[in-house]
């Protein structure tokens, strides 16, 4: 079985429909929803606030703490048991590292800035959607950032490089298999802050895939900027 045309008819560099909004959770300092296809991520920022346990405090800077969680009804199959699992723990960690280079928390020594990411519905690409939402929520909260962070999964399905794999593509069965590569980068510089790969890929393909991510990242950046503008300038599309 060879992969000729994408399962949902998209062009190789075409993402699913993206929409975003900030300021959706009143209790939070900042918040955002980022939707890509049937994957929805919402993020809320609380802080800076006191960090417990105390030994985690850093007198030089505030600490960013991310918490990624799938709602129990948001999985592709059976109900997902609530509570942290190994996958969520790892994603929380790489999310922190994807966002940290954009953020300056030097003015908040010993404090923590909490980012909570929740997924009400998923169709692959959840960590990237979570990072996009979290980056917008941090900007909405007014933290000092040198850039927004954009994130997208790129990869190889059979012998095609594609952007924004959905669940059907991630689990596509073919001889060559699938490589799924979530990438996050600073929107303007293109510097990469998250990189993972599940699956076979050549060095050349990886290079091309990252170029593809950069191209798609620009588009995501425009959506993020527009959402922030809509709140802060009342500017409509």
């Amino acid at each position: 079985m060879t992969y000729k045309k994408r399962l949902d008819g998209r062009a190789v560099d075409e993402t699913r429909k993206i929409s975003a909004k900030v300021g959706i959770i009143k209790n939070a300092q900042g918040s955002a929803v980022f939707q890509i296809g049937a994957t929805t991520a919402i993020a809320a920022v609380y802080g800076p606030r006191e960090l417990h346990p105390k030994f985690l405090q850093n007198p030089d800077t505030g600490v960013l703490r991310c918490n990624y969680n799938m709602m129990p009804f948001s999985g592709h199959g059976e109900r997902v048991r609530p509570g942290q699992n190994r996958r969520a723990k790892e994603i929380s960690m790489v999310t922190e590292q994807a966002l940290a280079p954009a953020l300056n928390l030097k003015n908040f020594p010993n404090a923590v800035v909490d980012v909570f990411i929740e997924l009400p519905q998923t169709d692959a690409g959840t960590r990237c959607a979570g990072i996009c939402a979290a980056s917008m929520a941090l900007a909405d909260a007014g933290f000092e950032m040198k850039d927004l962070v954009v994130a997208i999964a790129v990869g190889r399905v059979d012998d095609h490089l594609v952007a924004d794999l959905n669940y059907d593509e991630e689990s596509y069965e073919c001889d060559a298999g699938v490589a799924d590569i979530p990438v996050a980068m600073l929107a303007n510089s293109g510097e990469i802050t998250l990189l993972q790969d599940d699956g076979d890929i050549t060095a050349q393909q990886l290079k091309e895939a990252l170029q593809l991510a950069k191209k798609v990242g620009k588009k995501i950046y425009e959506v993020q900027k527009q959402a922030l503008k809509e709140k802060f300038t009342g500017e409509e599309k």
């Binding site: 609380y46 129990p72 009804f73 909570f116």
Partner: protein
């Protein structure tokens, strides 16, 4: 006088003038919005907003072996997640007492009204039955999570459709047209009390200074199917009478929000 006492006195003074922090009367709700099918991943789902309070509820199903004493009946499970995303008061980790109470109050309303026809959830007597699982997730806590969660759970149940099942495996990606067999529609209304003042749909600040609350779950035929008294304060029989009357009136208003 502590800050909390000050706040209580302030809320109470306003209540005496039939006034709330947001300008409402004691017996009026904030704007209630129900949206269906907010998660394609769930068998059924809903979002309920009551003012700035927002909750999501999602229904998933699974196939289980029935309990030995009810071999022909499916089962129900309700869980609530007070997400730290929804309030600075909530922390990540195992469910708090507040979350457990919330889930159990919603569960009791659905269970005790026999809202779900559990016999119709039987696939093979003594062997296989459907289990219906409701998860409640809070998005923004601005007070009255119990009423919002109960309404969201019922809305999600109403919208849910069973996935395809071929006798061996559930195909969660393909939904049938079969709804969850519902016989009743229980609605929970919580009435709050500070001294002699009764009111509904509290803001978070009002909730914090209440003496007592009573959640009354009723069905469309006007029957009470579940109760839950909360708070450290006391209720007289007269209070309870007034509170149940008020709850029944208000439940009709909320019932109208479900299509």
């Amino acid at each position: 006088m502590s800050l909390k006492d000050e706040q209580r006195a302030h809320v109470l003074k306003a209540l005496h003038a039939d006034l709330r922090y947001d300008g409402r009367k004691k017996e009026s709700f904030r704007k209630v919005i129900v949206e269906y099918d907010i998660s394609k991943s769930a068998e059924g789902s809903a979002r309920v907003k009551i003012g700035d309070t927002e909750v999501l509820a999602g229904v998933k199903v699974a196939i289980e072996t029935p309990y030995p004493d009810t071999p022909e009946q499916g089962s129900l499970m309700v869980n609530a997640e007070l997400l730290p995303l929804s309030s600075a008061r909530f922390e990540p980790g195992p469910p708090s007492t507040e979350a457990v109470e919330l889930a159990r109050v919603v569960d009791r309303g659905i269970r005790e009204s026999a809202a779900i026809d559990t016999k119709k959830l039987c696939i093979a007597k003594g062997e296989k039955v459907w289990m219906v699982m409701i998860d409640i997730c809070t998005i923004n806590d601005a007070g009255n999570l119990i009423d919002a969660s109960s309404l969201a759970s019922l809305a999600a149940l109403k919208q849910a459709r069973f996935p395809e099942y071929d006798g061996k495996k559930i195909d969660f990606m393909t939904k049938t047209k079969n709804p969850i067999p519902l016989l009743k529609e229980p609605i929970a209304i919580t009435v709050f009390k500070i001294e002699d003042q009764l009111f509904v749909d509290p803001l978070r600040d009002e909730e914090d200074v209440m003496d007592a609350r009573l959640t009354v779950t009723t069905t469309a035929d006007g029957k009470i199917c579940a109760l839950q008294k909360g708070g450290n304060g006391i209720l007289t029989i007269e209070d309870i009478d007034a509170m149940t009357q008020l709850a029944m009136e208000k439940s009709e208003e909320l019932r109208e929000k479900l299509e």
